[in-house]
């Protein structure tokens, strides 16, 4: 290779990788712009990715990380089903959890990219739809015992065949949902995103030629793999075990709903082994193998160098083993719709607690689980139009790490880029009135670095509504976010319904709540767990939280051992010194 060729190669590698990543952002931008449901437009509940012809993920944009890590499984299912029958102009769709998807409401749309009749890349857009029929609301049915009760199940099919719309597939699907116009709009928006991706990939291939693009992709994947292997090498060899359980929220739940995990590190390889995890259950919490893999990736990528790209290369040193038919690898008939948020959180929690033993300095305190209230939909009497809105105006807190407090209003970890709705847009589109949407004082786990605060949210239903999924998670002390290295727990989450007649009941079971006019729903979320001993938190930081009304004077004294005068808000230095010494 001549010097000039080497220069060209250095440049091309930098340029092409950059460009493929930019293409996935372009696809995401198009989806945000033209979406019809708040799930896409307000919540950004989607991911985009580019794969090469060998089904290797090359580039991605992950607003919702749990949707990303499982995309390779869906693409593999499509490629296997249509082997020998994949042509230019085809666009594929799949939502079947047993064909590589996490759960039914995520529709995965993929378009192959050809040059000279050869399949070189794939453009993928996966997003959560507002409705997939059945008994579900927003894709969730707490009463589901099997996948059949969760909505319409779509194996790999062709949405377009050689550029021609496959009307039968669209008609069949849209006849099975309650909000066909909205769902069709979002599906069209995904198809458009893959078209934008494919055009940009074709332009890149035309500009650089296949060999140079292939070289850049190969180099990028290989260096990502080397990066991840180096990170794993920095984790001491050993076996690290932890377990976390789901909340007992089903009527008649048998109690054993536990993710048991052993993380084994040997040199530059890491294995997540779920041997001993509870068998799959008759509820919508079961995780598919693909969802479990995605959850392990979240756990690992959040404790290693954040600049490592998540792609096929960086996934090579990671193995996930889960017994078929367990909560972590559900078999053919299990319901799975709650796995992307709740069960993903529980898996990530177990993995973080295991990794905390190996690398305490990089340990991540646990985050709040899911936001309890899901989507509501129906007809808005004020506008006389169908509506769907998301109730995650309050989100939970994230956990602390060494040197950093957790973030308020961020959880769950499965969807860190998911946006909360704007309160005014929410009231304009739905027959609901927000009575409050603020941080929940004293919710953060205490620590040298404390967790972020959870949100507290109250909404009044002005008219009858189809229903809201209520999924109480993290509602008990042992399912609330745990601290690490001596840090405290976040306050457990809590929800209640006040009927218009005045009766109040606590939400303690997964249920579809069908509110009447005047009912008020209150949701209070956990803060994240803390890192390190609370009594070591600087007094000034404790006082700052008291002045900001997010920490009570009582908790400041009892947990942080800082005495603050309730009248003057001044720190009693002598008393604080006494409290803090006594503890040592």
């Amino acid at each position: 290779m001549t010097s000039s060729d080497r220069v060209q190669q250095v440049i091309s590698r930098a340029v092409i990788v950059h460009r493929l990543e930019a293409i996935t952002r372009e696809m995401g931008a198009a989806m945000l712009r033209s979406a019809r449901s708040p799930v896409f437009a307000e919540n950004r509940d989607f991911v985009t990715a580019v794969f090469d012809g060998r089904l290797r993920m090359v580039a991605q944009t992950a607003y919702i990380p749990v949707l990303l890590g499982s995309t390779p499984f869906a693409l593999e299912a499509i490629a296997a089903r249509f082997e020998g029958d994949i042509d230019p102009g085809d666009v594929f769709l799949v939502n079947d959890p047993y064909s590589g998807n996490n759960h039914l409401p995520d529709l995965t749309v993929v378009r192959p990219v050809f040059v000279d009749q050869e399949l070189l890349f794939w453009a993928l857009a996966r997003g959560h739809h507002a409705d997939v029929g059945g008994l579900s609301v927003g894709g969730y049915n707490p009463a589901a015992r099997t996948v059949w009760e969760e909505g319409i199940r779509i194996p790999p099919v062709k949405l377009y065949r050689g550029g021609v719309r496959n009307d039968g597939v669209w008609d069949l699907f849209l006849a099975n949902v309650r909000l066909p116009e909205l769902v069709a709009g979002d599906l069209q928006c995904q198809v458009g995103a893959t078209a934008i991706g494919a055009r940009a990939i074709e332009a890149t291939l035309a500009a650089y030629g296949r060999p140079i693009v292939a070289d850049a992709v190969q180099h990028h994947l290989a260096s990502s793999e080397a990066d991840m292997r180096a990170q794993i090498r920095s984790i001491p060899d050993g076996d690290y075990s932890a377990e976390r359980r789901l909340d007992n929220t089903e009527p008649g739940a048998d109690g054993d709903r536990t993710i048991r995990l052993r993380v084994s590190v040997r040199g530059e390889e890491i294995v997540f082994d779920f041997e001993g995890t509870s068998p799959q259950i008759a509820s919508y919490h079961n995780s598919t193998y693909a969802n479990t893999v995605a959850s392990c990736l979240i756990a690992l990528f959040s404790v290693v160098d954040p600049d490592i790209s998540m792609n096929w290369g960086s996934m090579q040193a990671i193995r996930v083993e889960a017994p078929e038919g367990s909560l972590a690898s559900a078999a053919r008939d299990a319901a799975t719709s709650m796995c992307t948020t709740v069960t993903c959180s529980v898996i990530v929690e177990a993995a973080w607690l295991a990794l905390a033993q190996a690398i305490p300095d990089r340990a991540q305190a646990l985050w709040s689980r899911r936001g309890i209230a899901g989507v509501s939909s129906g007809i808005n009497p004020r506008t006389k139009r169908p509506f769907a809105v998301i109730h995650n105006l309050s989100k939970g807190g994230s956990g602390a790490t060494l040197g950093f407090d957790g973030w308020d209003q961020l959880s769950p970890v499965s969807s860190t880029g998911g946006r909360a709705p704007d309160p005014e847009i929410f009231e304009l589109s739905s027959p609901h009135r927000i009575l409050g949407c603020e941080l929940r004082p004293d919710s953060a786990g205490a620590g040298r670095w404390r967790g972020g605060h959870g949100g507290a949210y109250r909404v009044q239903f002005l008219s009858a509504t189809t229903g809201v999924i209520l999924e109480p998670s993290g509602v008990s002390h042992d399912t609330a976010p745990q601290g690490v290295q001596g840090g405290g727990h976040g306050l457990p989450a809590y929800a209640e319904i006040a009927d218009v007649d005045g009766s109040v009941r606590r939400v303690d079971q997964s249920t579809i709540y069908r509110p009447g006019p005047g009912d008020v729903l209150t949701v209070e979320l956990s803060g994240g767990g803390g890192y390190g001993e609370a009594a070591e938190r600087p007094v000034a930081d404790v006082l700052a939280d008291v002045l900001d009304d997010v920490l009570s004077i009582a908790k400041a004294r009892d947990v942080y051992r800082v005495a603050i005068d309730p009248e003057t808000f001044e720190v009693d230095k002598t008393e604080t010194a006494r409290l803090r010494t006594r503890r040592q």
């Binding site: 001549t2 010097s3 000039s4 080497r6 220069v7 250095v10 440049i11 930098a14 990788v17 950059h18 460009r19 930019a22 372009e26 931008a29 945000l32 712009r33 033209s34 979406a35 019809r36 708040p38 437009a41 607003y63 990380p65 909205l182 928006c189 458009g192 995103a193 078209a195 260096s223 990066d227 959040s302 954040p306 139009r385 956990g399 790490t401 950093f404 407090d405 308020d408 209003q409 961020l410 880029g417 946006r419 909360a420 704007d422 309160p423 005014e424 847009i425 009231e427 304009l428 009135r433 927000i434 009575l435 409050g436 949407c437 603020e438 941080l439 949100g455 900001d548 009304d549 997010v550």
Partner: protein
């Protein structure tokens, strides 16, 4: 560092009786000034002292006066207008040195502004601190008042309830208060009552109302914008008051105008009350100047790039105006008012060249800045930068850099570059060339972000280059993206200050009005447009802006019923009838197709908001022609440069030398000016237009063919 006069092109500064206008742009490294007196325009560049910007400004003015052989008092005495762009408000936000601001908001919604809609952009990076709130929770007070989503009053505001809040504000030493109530864009009366009460009891405290700052739906966006306004207005107020004082005591009797983020200028009274409108005050003016230059050639569409020491700013110009966005922010604080849509990446002359942990060569985003600066500056910098690369490649002459005021150290540049090259197995020249190409790619990607990714094809656009470093790179950027024509303005290195001189006054007025177009009584929309127009006219009048030449643009934000994002289209005239509505809807369908890849004609279209922009012309928006000489340009020397793996011997020309404007310089060639050098690559040709701007295009084309390719009239 020396200060010095930079006069390009027109060197005969003749005292004229016509209007004198001065444009001033204060940046982190330099204060740039452009003085226009009648037909004569000249520029001055002096180093800036961030601790005392007003003093640097006066030093620059002193220099400009000396260049004219007059006193500062004489120059200022005959100056009718000074147009000022500054980064004072931006820097206050970036450094946290803003006013102490409190927020009053609706009960139950205390944390909306600090909840950031629940987003963390780098989601899985667990080692990052939560953002520092501009208004901490202890300074946010909730008031028990409420409107519903139709603007009906659910709960009146009780002013007695404000008493303890006022006490707190006073005790906390608050300098500014933002007021943002739910749905106040539908009825501002609660906000106004609270504001009146505050003014009465806390005179001297700045008060910003969300219903004045941004009367638009979306609580988080409106509230955040209002808080930013309250935080920066007193800072800008103090700075402008001090500057105004100093200018007046030095003899200035004219008007001091301020550049706004929207690319228009306003009076200092407005800027001091609406500081949020000036956060992009500096960079927003280069695209204005670029727009003027494009329009002298009848070019409706162009892309303006500004390559400074640290950053590379890109702005799209379509239909004769810089593109505007409402999706931006500064320093992590969301600002939802319309601002010139400037996309910035960390790429400039000072960008550091290094190999990252993955073995990939990078150029930027980290920068050596002005101090220590590039290795070749010889000020102690040891890291290789893009400027070092340009020096090693022979593009910059070591003894003629910055008009010869800074001798560059080639040996230092070579040592720095060699250290980077060793990791890649490349020699210093190869590394320098790779760095040149990599920084170009970062800039190409930034241009692609505002063009290709927004549905605009660069092959239809002229590329206009600002900043001293840009002319060495711009031909390569154009080549990669397919721009048929590059324009390098005569005042490329001070284009922001020039933008101030050429700008119009510009004020914006918005209203939210949600209505399905097929169903709505058009009177409702027309009444609202009339209200906005009346407000606009009144503002121009109150600001004493000459009404002649004023024009009013009307824009409508539309979407398909059920969508969440609107697409803005022009409303050609105020009184809507059904035919005009059909035209507007047609334009919407087409725009949606361009942006989102499809249109949905079967769907109903909904109006979301209306925006009126009042633009008043303040002076001649164009630079006059300059005299051009005769004959062909003669090279002053021939020197080797490194280009695509080869040594090329190229002719070097003196850009100040007169020659016939249409006589082309054929690449490979270098054209040196005191503050910049243009690289004309092999296969390219350079000519000059009647105003002394350089035009670069493929050598196979005549200049007028390149012009025609980007839409210039024949």
């Amino acid at each position: 560092m020396n200060s010095g006069r930079v006069a390009e092109g027109s060197r005969d500064v003749v005292g004229q009786t016509t209007e004198t206008i001065i444009g001033i742009d204060t940046g982190g490294t330099f204060v740039d000034l452009v003085v226009r007196e009648g037909d004569a325009t000249s520029a001055v560049k002096v180093p800036s002292d961030p601790e005392n910007l007003a003093a640097s400004v006066l030093e620059g003015l002193q220099q400009a006066a000396a260049d004219r052989g007059c006193s500062l008092g004489e120059l200022l005495g005959r100056t009718s207008r000074i147009v000022h762009g500054s980064t004072v408000a931006t820097n206050a936000l970036l450094t946290g040195d803003t006013s102490k601001v409190a927020l009053l908001t609706t009960k139950g919604f205390r944390d909306v502004v600090n909840m950031r809609r629940g987003v963390r952009e780098r989601g899985l990076d667990s080692h990052q601190s939560p953002p520092r709130p501009l208004v901490p929770r202890r300074l946010i007070h909730t008031i028990d008042e409420r409107l519903d989503c139709d603007g009906n009053e659910l709960r009146p505001i009780d002013l007695a309830e404000l008493a303890p809040v006022l006490e707190r504000l006073e005790r906390d030493g608050v300098e500014a208060v933002a007021i943002c109530f739910l749905f106040s864009f539908l009825d501002p009366s609660h906000e106004r009552q609270a504001a009146a009460h505050l003014h009465e009891h806390l005179p001297g405290v700045h008060v910003s109302l969300s219903s004045e700052v941004l009367p638009q739906v979306r609580l988080y966006e409106r509230e955040s914008t209002t808080v930013v306004n309250a935080a920066v207005s007193p800072v800008l107020d103090a700075y402008l008051a001090a500057l105004d004082d100093q200018l007046r005591s030095a003899g200035f009797q004219g008007r001091l105008h301020v550049m706004q983020s929207n690319g228009g200028i306003c009076t200092p009274e407005i800027a001091r009350r609406h500081g949020v409108r000036s956060v992009l005050s500096g960079p927003a003016s280069a695209p204005v100047a670029a727009t003027r230059i494009a329009s002298t050639h009848g070019l409706p569409d162009a892309i303006c790039v500004d390559m400074g020491g640290t950053s590379f700013d890109v702005c799209l110009i379509t239909d004769g105006s810089p593109r505007i966005t409402s999706l931006g922010g500064i320093a992590g604080y969301r600002i939802a008012i319309p601002m010139v849509d400037i996309h910035t990446v960390g790429a400039g002359g000072g960008s550091i060249v290094e190999v990252d942990s993955r073995g990939v060569l990078r150029a930027g985003p980290s920068s050596a800045g002005a101090f220590p600066g590039p290795a070749c500056y010889g000020r102690g910098g040891t890291k290789a930068t893009v400027t070092d690369a340009n020096l090693l490649l022979g593009y910059i002459h070591p003894e003629r850099f910055w008009g010869g005021r800074l001798n560059l150290d080639v040996g230092a540049a070579e040592r720095a570059m060699a250290a980077v090259g060793r990791e890649l197995g490349l020699d210093p020249a190869e590394t320098a060339y790779a760095a040149y190409r990599v920084v170009n790619e970062a800039m190409v990607d930034a241009i692609r972000e505002v063009s290709v990714r927004q549905g605009f094809d660069p092959r239809r656009f002229a590329l206009i280059a600002a900043g001293g470093a840009a002319p060495l790179h711009v031909a390569s950027l154009a080549d990669e993206l397919g721009f048929p024509l590059v324009v390098i303005p005569r005042m490329a290195s001070v284009l922001c200050a020039l933008g101030g001189v050429l700008s119009d006054a510009k004020y914006e007025f918005v209203a939210t009005l949600i209505a399905v177009l097929a169903d709505v009584e058009l009177e409702v929309i027309n009444d609202r447009i009339e209200q906005l127009l009346a407000e606009a006219r009144a503002t121009l009048k109150a600001e004493d802006v000459a009404p002649d030449g004023a024009r009013f643009e009307i824009h409508a934000g539309l979407r398909y019923v059920g969508q969440f994002q609107e697409v803005e289209v022009d409303v050609p005239r105020p009184a809507l009838d059904r035919r005009l509505v059909d035209e507007i809807v047609e334009a919407f369908h087409e725009r949606h197709e361009v942006l989102n890849g499809y249109q949905a004609r079967q769907h109903a279209v909904e109006l979301v908001n209306l925006r009126v922009v009042a633009v008043a012309r303040l002076g001649d928006p164009h630079l006059p022609p300059v005299e051009s000489g005769a004959g062909t340009a003669a090279p002053i020397e021939r020197r080797p440069i490194y280009w695509e793996g080869m040594q090329l011997a190229v002719d070097v020309f003196d850009g100040e030398q007169d020659h016939a404007s249409h006589a082309a310089i054929i690449g490979p060639a270098l054209v040196e000016f005191p503050t910049t050098t243009i690289l004309v690559p092999p296969g390219y040709a350079l000519t000059r237009d009647a105003r002394g701007n350089s035009l670069l295009h493929r050598a196979g084309l005549a200049t007028r063919e390149a012009m025609a390719a980007v839409g210039a009239p024949a």
